[in-house]
Amino acid sequence: MEGLLLEPTLYTVKGMAILDNDGNRILAKYYDKNVFATAKEQKTFEKNLFNKTHRANAEIIMLDGLTCVYRSNVDLFFYVMGSSHENELILMSVLNCLYDAVSQILRKNVEKRVVFDNLDIVMLAMDEICDGGIIMEADSSAVVQRVALRTDDIPLGEQTVAQVLQSAKEQLKWSLLK
């Protein structure tokens, strides 16, 4: 049968991407030289992927021989790609880790503007989740811990009133939304 599962290997993830609500790349990484070797191919694929996924909230799609799992929030789209034979649930666990880690880094403000404000940390997080196609860490809190949040070290007393207010607002908002 077609199976002949792939050679057992740790190289599981073919790519990860965060796109905005126009399908433009915010961050993307591809780990297999045989999959979309050039930036142009990658961007065409991303456009295509975005067109097929931004309306249907369906979590998984097969495209160009890749299994892609995705998740979106407000104006951000998160994707994890793997080979078409890959265990979809493993890919999903990576996607969840990516999403949760970003969400924790951005303090639940998973929005494009906030991502750009914290682009450095998000880059670090992506690097901690996957190294050259190998899943490094799939537990989002471990990832967040490893990328060392900057504002964490400002004690409450030294935060400005605005900052305190802002975080209080957010907390309220999220408790209402739940």
Binding site: E2, G65, N87, I121
Partner: protein
Amino acid sequence: MNAFKRDKKEEEEGSGNPFQNIEKTTVLQETRIFNDCPVDSRKCTHILTKILYLLNQGEQLGTTEATETFFAITKLFQSQDVILRRMMYLGIKELSTIAEDVIIVTSSLTKDMTGKEDLYRAAAIRALCSITDVSMLQAIERYMKQAIVDRNSGVSSAALVSSLHLTKIAGDVVKRWVNEAQEAVNSDSVMVQYHALGVLYHIRKSDRLAVNKLVAKLTRMSLKSPYAVCMLIRIAYKLLEEEDSSGGASSYSTLFDFIESCLRHKSEMVIYEAAHAIVNLRRTTSVELAPAVSVLQLFCSSPKPTLRFAAVRTLNKVAMSHPAAVTACNLDLENLITDSNRSIATLAITTLLKTGAESSVDRLMKQIASFVSEISDEFKIVVVQAIRALCLKFPRKHSVLMNFLSAMLRDEGGLEYKASIADTIITIIEENPEAKETGLAHLCEFIEDCEHTSLAVRILHLLGKEGPRTKQPSRYIRFIYNRVILENAPVRAAAVAAMSQFGATCPDLLPNIQVLLARCQMDTDDEVRDRATYYYSILEKQDKSLANHYIVEGLQVSIPSLERALHQYTISPSDVPFDMKSVPLAAVPSAEEIVNPSGKGVQADGMLISTALSGSKVSAVAVTVSREESYAEKLRNVPELVALGPLFRSSDPVELTESETEYVVRCIKHSFPQHLVLQFDCLNTLNDQLLENVRVQVEPPDGYQLVREVPCPCLPYSETGTAYVALKFPEELGATIGTFNATLKFLVKDCDPATGLPDSDEGYDDEYMLEDVEVTLGDQIQKVTKTNFGAAWEEAGDSYCELEDTYSLSSVSTLEEAVKDIVNFLGMQPAERSDRVPEGKSSHTVFLAGVYRGGYDILVRAKLALAEGVTMQLTVRSTNPDVAELVTSAVG
């Protein structure tokens, strides 16, 4: 004011992307501040982020630019800011492939790697391994070993993952870290366990025994990491498959039990991986399959789309090999048809179509129709393939399915999608005579409005082939002639050719066709005009045999060979006219290959990858182009055999030994016009022997003359060598069929298994008995496709000589068996699909066509009647009486 406006506008456009308008050169200029002392870490981090963002957007840096940036970044090691340092590692990794002299930072990174700050250590290891090369690796080997067994899981993981990356450049060095990796497998951290297993497997994968041990050990200790268990399942699966193919079964049950036990794991990921492995195992029985299927069934009702997708996709695969096992899930699958994820819905439908009963077809088709317009082309192709399978399964449902297909054909869609629909309709027409008229009508309608030239040409060709033999051929003429008026040149040319077919086969239409062809002679395109003139003048002669040869039958030879032969002819001019008979005939694809374009095509059936699909089809076609072609190429390279002339036919390989013996020999029989060449492919499976002067001695039956022997000079362990024996066929055709005793003879030199070098120069002669080689009638006959057998038969009635005989075939009890036997025995091509016996008939007629070596045509009509065994009346017509005699006598 203006500036304010512009700002606002930019803000809107960029919608808060502060990185939108940055430019490479500006940013690279900004890296100058990296040199400032003290370092402004916040500012530097921002600039570094910009650089990384640009690289991530696909911006290319030249080598000098990259090197300069790289060195600027290294200045930042003086800062102690955590984030900045981490971003530096990222920058180093990104630039390591473009910049030069990157090893300059080795010592700084080594310092971070062995330092106290845990946040630095893991990342430093990964950065270090990305810049290092084989020579530098020696220096850091000690630290790597320590890092692998470090207490901090992040450090350990980073070291393991990096060593796996390093195996690509320095596999041998990494192999020395096996003990550390072994220790890491026992780690408490789930990720370390997973990474360690990956490294261990990679180091040991070429040694099956070691892998076996590894798996045996790990299956007992129950790994904590679900990822590691998934990996272990894959390794176990691979071992099972390899064992399967090599015939051993020593640990089959333990391995399988392990996979099976994983079906009860607490992680869904592992459960699915195990079910997937069981489903994919080649020799899974339905009993073994049952627990896996029931697990997948549970997943079908999961709230998670990914889980449902994975489950239904795997079930789809099961449905191909064990449809019965999936029937239990039919109810769950039907619920998935309305799934919001279209991929899941499509997979569910196609699975149902594979397992469903005839009664549910109508309902399913209705459901498909409701959403087919919403899914992507790739999925539509999957649906079309499922429908094709369905048509073959339930021929009686063709009208429903055909209507559905024609509706799909009218919708929007790409070439590949349309082609797959047209293919399916063509398959249905060929398989099911009842569906022919409606199918052709749908196709006619389709070409009225078809934008794909290649597809239109194919359909016109089909119309030309099938149309004349329908009840009302005239109705197709209008459709075809419309193409001549409205389409581009290639389509017009195809339409002209199709019309001529009608002219040649339907005498009452001929005058009208001639009028149309005459009009086509005024066409603007050369090719169209040429074709019209050609066909017009042939049809004008009103000569049946001429029309048959040059219009209905077409070219029988293999096109690449014809090209080569003509090329040869033109570079060495001679007075002798070019002989078409010297060109090998085109191979006729076997019936199976027609039904399933390739084995792979069937596998890809459930897969959703259209590219892979088309690729496999192309390769399959390429393979079937001609087996003779590839052998001819090989034989041309043997100088001793060149003189024998063009290769006429090659047989399938025949095994002359058991597959597990010391020497494995296969024989391929090549027929030339006057000669027989036996090709012996020999494989040496003894690693302590080197064979020399390997040859096969044959004892031919009377009449054969041994012309040449071409030995294989040297045959090392596990290599295949080829020896040839060339013989001249006996003059007396009856004597050509016989049995050859064969013995393999060779000189043995004992050698060292490790190096393959012989111990001494002296060897001893040895021989090995092979099974007999049978030369049959079929080896000397090449298949020929006759599209209009009736006409050819009629025509042969006058000029060919005819022999007739009656036989009783007592060994077979059904007509199907008899047909199969006779086709295999004669090695000829059944014409007009006469090899398919309609159900419930007690008599049947098979038409066979072929060419005997030397270019003598043979036509055979076999009338079969079923009555306590099968009685056969065989009529043979051939251009050579001896050949006819041979065929009738051989059958007896």
